[in-house]
Amino acid sequence: MSRSPVERQFAFAQERGWRNTDFIQTIGDDYARDLDLLQPDGEYPALIVYRRDGDQVRLFWMSEMGREMADPGQDPRDAPDIAALWSILDLTPQGRPADWYPKLRY
């Protein structure tokens, strides 16, 4: 999910060959704002697992390793990190490059 138009997210997923993931767009900014994701230095992601409780929704777990918990010289990240890219780079002699990020398009 994102503030980005759902059509734009879906088009990006198609371009990347992503399958089996549903995309939705948040209506208004309440969700992003309540989760404290809109910061002066940019927008932050949120990994959240919900569970159904009857006809209501309950939080099970969400990532709470905030930016203030990042170690010196590192980007905020979870452990375990669900993004395989970084784990694979960690297996290489040079590890994850300090200032490298994947591009949106290749």
Partner: protein, 126 residues
Amino acid sequence: MDEQLTPAADMAAHRRPAFPGESVDYAKARQDLLAAEIEFRRHMTRLTAQRQALPPGPLIEKDYRFKDEQGFEIGLIDLFGDKDVLVSYYWMYGRNVNGPARCVPTGSGRSTAMPAISSSASPTRY
């Protein structure tokens, strides 16, 4: 749980190198690393158990609204489909995002894992 487990160092001692020609230094350092890797795996297993043992989290009281791929407006509960668990990831593919994307690798990993997660015992929707 840990009491019944074979010490990681003992397990690592069973290491069998695939390729001939290892130096003594490499063999020693790799075996130490293997023991640390086994401990890391065990730590992840403990983390998972600790997460699963969390008491019920808060109810989401606010009626957050979303627009799905068909253009319909839906609520958080609707995102579950026929599942009981929902794994969600909010990402920053915003109107002004054109540069490097820290959050994208996470989306990429989900895409490939999803079919297996759907077919696992866990009634989970991504």
